[in-house]
Symmetry: C2
Subunit: 226 residues, 2 copies
């Protein structure tokens, strides 16, 4: 609570503080703005001092991925598999929207951290507890994760913000000769440019399609397996 705010930061540096600052920096300025030098600046420290708390930049990136994976809602004990899977999918998507850099960074990580293990374990546990065989739980996990990652990746690279769909469609129709791409034109006019269109709805469509399919396979397993 001291009011002196000179250059020296009283709070000592720690791995935790470094990682938090890195997440904030990437959130605010994008991944390109997350450099060791600028991170040092933000913490009132020279870039070189960061290396006391982080082995190198790779280690820093591993650390911030672990933080954001920890923000995904885990299934609760006793929760039915279907609402549990929906909740984790929705919260994973929300996380990727809060941290647009996360997908990009996760793509370059090879060694998952403890938080990732905990996440995988909890999801598998919810499926197993609700009647899924080991094999079907593995299938379910992979296909749901594919949808989540793939949808978020598409959503992130949409050439328009959720808000200005009309503008982009218009400018796209200019750059895109209608006779050369007739089906793109059709879908733009009859679907995308219609009032109420929201690409986010595609997430629910895909999620329900997959959950319905999994429910069917689970029922069959339970019937046949005894």
């Amino acid at each position: 609570m001291s009011t002196e705010s000179t250059k020296k930061s009283r709070v000592p540096l720690s791995r935790e503080r470094v990682l938090r600052a890195a997440v904030d920096l990437a959130d605010e300025g994008g991944l390109a703005s997350l450099t060791m030098r600028r991170l040092g600046e933000r913490l009132d420290v020279e870039a070189m001092s960061l290396y006391k708390h982080v082995a190198n930049k790779e280690d820093l990136l591993d650390g911030i991925v672990d933080i954001v994976v920890g923000e995904i809602d885990l299934p609760e004990p006793g929760e039915n598999w279907r609402p549990a899977m929906r909740r984790r999918a929705v919260s994973a998507r929300a996380m990727f929207r809060r941290h647009p850099w996360a997908l990009l960074v996760m793509e370059t990580r090879s060694t998952p951290g403890a938080t990732t293990f905990r996440y995988h374990d909890a999801v598998l546990g919810a499926l197993r507890a609700d009647g899924f065989s080991v094999a079907l739980a593995a299938h379910a996990f992979a296909v749901l994760d594919s949808l989540i990652f793939g949808f978020c990746l598409q959503e992130q690279n949409l050439p328009f913000d959720e808000s200005n769909v009309a503008e982009m469609a218009e400018s796209m129709m200019e750059a895109m000769p209608t006779d050369e791409y007739p089906h793109l034109a059709e879908i733009a006019i009859e679907h995308v440019m219609q009032p109420g269109y929201d690409f986010a709805n595609e997430f629910d469509f895909g999620l329900d399609l997959i959950l319905d399919g999994l429910a069917g396979l689970r029922d069959r397993e339970l019937r046949e397996g005894g």
Copy 2:
């Protein structure tokens, strides 16, 4: 056919040649090795000369994405929707395995090129020609692309090569206390470490699950709408 192979390259530089060399460089050494300086080296030219054929590095990346998107099999006229969708999914996955950097680069592109338009148009066309409504074709496109992108992203970051599954499972069991992650341990022992396990099978599982679901929705549309 001249045999003199001095420093000067007889073939003049062109955008095409620059982009091809960039794809090769990224294939061989990963995205990190694709720098303007090293690309120049490979073409026996100073890095600065590349700027005659490419506006900047962003433009270069746009260009190589367009090239690899062009490697995805398009539906053929008259092809049934289901084999057409399967073929494009399989060939897209093969492309992402040939060019592991492509997913990463596509993620940072915002303006799709002509090849991407052509690809989207052909896929939508195959669905529309086979009875899908505009809305259902849009849904189908989004969910299939999500699966393809998301699966390839996962496959790329697998902490093991398709070959040495046993090794990795073993080393993972060490780093991963069995009692802390019981369901991960279970799936590792009873599923992943079983002979014949191949993560690639998850792709077919997801693909069939989604195609089955779409087939059902298409049938219902045709019954009700027609």
